[in-house]
């Protein structure tokens, strides 16, 4: 990190700048375009919610940014700029120095992320030692402070525990503490609260909100849960079949969605409509990634689709800082009627 943490200049360069990122998997049965032409940027202290159904490419986007795509997958085009440095062309060794240090990832299932045969303390030491010279006892001191920050009681004893001795919420907190130990500037969180209870989820959201603010970390929060995004993120990007179909500030997008898919997702969440009534559902299922429909991939399920939708949809601006990839973005009038 080059700049001091607590200053926020007016026209700050984004920490992370992604443009035209595309990732494909070359399989025997054909080419799967997991991520197509994804672009966004992220500033310090900003949380981006990356939302989509399973298979929409949201996790692959996170992995592509961290350079974790392995064969048969490949990042075919686009650039990932971290503090202006291009990551997609870096060698594996140079990437290793960045991963876990300047970019870190929190995965969905902490039990598979943590090594079951190492104590929590040893796993902290591995991550610290990989990036800077540090004695074991000094690493333990740092680890203890990190565990206190994520709200784990009796941190000294926990360092000698193995992962299976901790509860699910505790394990995820350990993962978060490990991912933040080298003071990264970008954190990619891949559905970190999906496997947890609401009460634990809200503890973790509370803690992450505080840590992001205190440390000015830029964060990508990958999730399928729009309602988490609503209270937690600053920006929102909705993915469908590998593309970002709508992006913008959270409140604006959710109060007035422009893409029919975003609107459909919101309608299928129970809560606002009359209990016991049928939920508005998006008809059909996601198309197979091997045979995406031409043009707009959502058109086979979209009730507003017309013939033009078979062409590639344009990216239109639908307000300040908002875009949608759609020929016929929903207007405010339509949204009022939709409710």
């Amino acid at each position: 990190m080059t700049e001091p943490l607590n200053t926020m200049p007016e026209n700050e360069q984004p920490v992370l700048n992604i443009s035209g990122l595309s990732t494909v998997y070359n399989l025997k049965i054909g080419q799967v375009k997991s991520v197509t032409d994804v672009s966004f940027e992220l500033a310090r202290g900003e949380i981006l919610g990356l939302v989509g159904e399973s298979g929409s490419g949201k996790s692959v986007t996170g992995l592509s940014i961290a350079g974790l795509i392995t064969a048969p997958g490949r990042v075919v085009s686009g650039s990932v700029l971290l503090h202006g440095q291009e990551l997609t062309t870096l060698s594996e060794n140079a990437l290793r120095a960045i991963r876990g240090n300047d970019i870190s990832i929190i995965f969905q299932d902490p039990m598979t992320t943590l090594n079951p045969v190492l104590t929590i303390g040893q796993q902290f030491f591995e991550v610290i030692h990989a990036h800077r010279k540090c004695s074991y006892s000094q690493a333990m001191k740092e680890a203890e402070t990190a565990l206190i920050e994520v709200g784990i009681p009796a941190p000294r004893e926990r360092l000698d525990n193995y992962p299976h001795e901790l509860s699910g919420g505790m394990r995820q907190r350990v993962c978060i503490a490990i991912s933040l130990i080298n003071k990264p500037s970008v954190v990619i969180a891949d559905e970190p609260t999906t496997a947890l209870d609401v009460t634990i989820q809200s503890q973790i959201l509370h803690m992450m909100q505080r840590l992001v603010r205190e440390r000015d970390v830029a964060m990508i929060w990958v999730t399928h849960d729009l309602s988490v995004v609503a209270g937690f993120c600053d920006k929102l990007a909705v993915m469908y079949a590998g593309r970002i179909v709508e992006a913008g500030p959270v409140q604006q997008v959710l109060s007035n969605p422009a893409h029919p898919y975003t609107a459909g997702l919101m309608d299928s969440i129970p809560g606002d409509c009359l209990p016991g009534s049928r939920l508005e559902q998006i008809p059909g299922t996601q198309p197979s990634p091997l045979q995406l429909p031409s043009g707009c991939a959502f058109r086979t399920r979209c009730k507003y689709a017309r013939n033009e939708c078979a062409e590639k949809p344009p990216e239109v601006a639908v307000g300040s800082g908002r875009t949608a990839q759609c020929f016929f973005p929903l207007t405010e009038v339509q949204n009022v009627r939709r409710k």
């Binding site: 159904e53 399973s54 509860s167 699910g168 919420g169 505790m170 209870d197 609401v198 009460t199 634990i200 989820q201 809200s202 503890q203 959201l205 509370h206 909100q209 399928h224 849960d225 729009l226 309602s227 988490v228 609503a230 209270g231 937690f232 959270v250 409140q251 959710l254 109060s255 459909g264 997702l265 919101m266 309608d267 299928s268 969440i269 129970p270 809560g271 606002d272 409509c273 209990p275 016991g276 049928r278 939920l279 508005e280 559902q281 998006i282 299922t285």
Partner: protein, 353 residues
């Protein structure tokens, strides 16, 4: 536990005349016996004992015919165990479960197969609950053929009709479970449960593993089936939004006990127990706007060593003196609305903080 004798108020009478499902003071304990060495040491006066988990602790509830009861709680609170007790997949340690007047899982008066078939279960993970080597047609017809409900030669028509009912095309009879998406598999799981024409369905987190858009489809399907087949449903879930949408009544469970039970609207508009209130605060809301999260402190305690008195008291923001000594009795606070909390027991007001 012996707290059953503390029950002062009787169960609130549900609006329905006679409950279809009647669970009376049901408990389920899981024990791990001491090793012989530990048993010997225990006799010498050392601190060893059998480990007992009170997974379900003196639970009473009633479900009226044709209504949907939602059972919510954190993982580890015993909601799935209670579901299994009601389905008589597990025997109760104490108390009894009656379904339409018949006592389940009792050695004295064993039920006929026909009676047992009336209760069916839908499980959380359809990939784990469907046999990966069985064709769809066999998954759907194995039960009814075994129990003599249909003839083997009719199985194709029977399975096709079931598939249509759950919204799947009937031409998939000879496919295998892995060829379907998660939502389709869950539909197959529901179709299998319906294949023996049950009138009581126990759904154990049927939508927890699904995407939101698919969740909506399954919820709509359950609503339709409930109407069409006049099903009574016990819906186990940790998702309060889904429960609010689907259920007529909700029971909130915490560490083996039901802490609050009420008709859905009453519960959501007026939660009484501090735990229920805290749970509702923590539902992420899509139209709530940006907000600060104020979580409940701590985690659900180990069921091996539950806190004495009210299990929730170490995390409760409104704890009073009596909370840590005795389990709170059930008190009625509204029409069909009961709660187990010392704050609602008319007692000496000076005790309160």
């Amino acid at each position: 536990m012996s707290d059953a004798s503390e029950m002062t108020a009787e169960l609130p009478v549900m609006p329905q005349d006679s409950p279809f499902v009647d669970v009376r003071h049901a408990s389920r304990r899981f024990e791990r016996r001491m090793s012989p060495v530990a048993a010997f040491l225990a006799r010498l006066g050392l601190d060893y004992a059998d480990e007992i988990v009170h997974a379900v602790d003196d639970v009473s509830l009633r479900i009226g015919k044709g209504s949907v009861l939602g059972l919510v709680g954190e993982s580890g609170c015993g909601k799935s165990t209670l579901g299994r007790l009601i389905a008589s997949l597990l025997p109760v340690s104490d108390g009894e479960v009656r379904i339409d007047g018949h006592r389940m899982a009792s050695k004295a008066e064993p039920l006929s197969r026909r009676e047992l078939l009336r209760t069916q279960m839908v499980f959380q993970n359809p990939m784990a609950s469907l046999n990966p080597r069985q064709k769809i047609v066999d998954i759907l017809t194995e039960g009814p053929i075994y129990h003599g409900l249909i003839k083997r030669r009719d199985k194709n028509e029977f399975a096709a009709a079931l598939l249509l009912e759950v919204g799947l095309p009937p031409d998939i009879l000879s496919r295998l479970p892995h060829q379907f998406s998660g939502g389709q598999r869950q539909r197959i799981g529901i179709a299998r449960a319906l294949s023996v024409s049950p009138d009581f369905l126990i759904c154990d987190e049927p939508v927890a593993a699904l995407d939101v858009s698919i969740q909506a489809q399954i919820i709509n399907l359950l609503l339709d089936l409930k109407e069409k087949r006049a099903l009574t449903i016990l819906f186990i879930s940790h998702d309060l939004g889904v429960v609010r949408h689907l259920c007529d009544q909700v029971a909130v469970m915490y560490l083996g006990r039901i802490v609050e039970m009420a008709p859905t609207e009453a519960l959501f508009s007026n939660p009484v127990h501090p735990y229920t209130k805290a749970l509702f605060e923590e539902i992420p809301r899509i139209r709530g706007g940006h907000r600060e999260y104020q979580p409940i402190k701590g985690e659900i305690p180990s069921p091996l060593t539950p806190p004495p008195g009210c299990h929730f008291h170490p995390r409760c923001p409104r704890v009073i003196a009596s909370c840590s000594s005795l389990a709170p009795p059930q008190s009625v606070v509204g029409d069909g609305h009961s709660v187990s909390c010392w704050l609602n027991v008319p007692a000496d007001p000076t005790q309160r903080k």
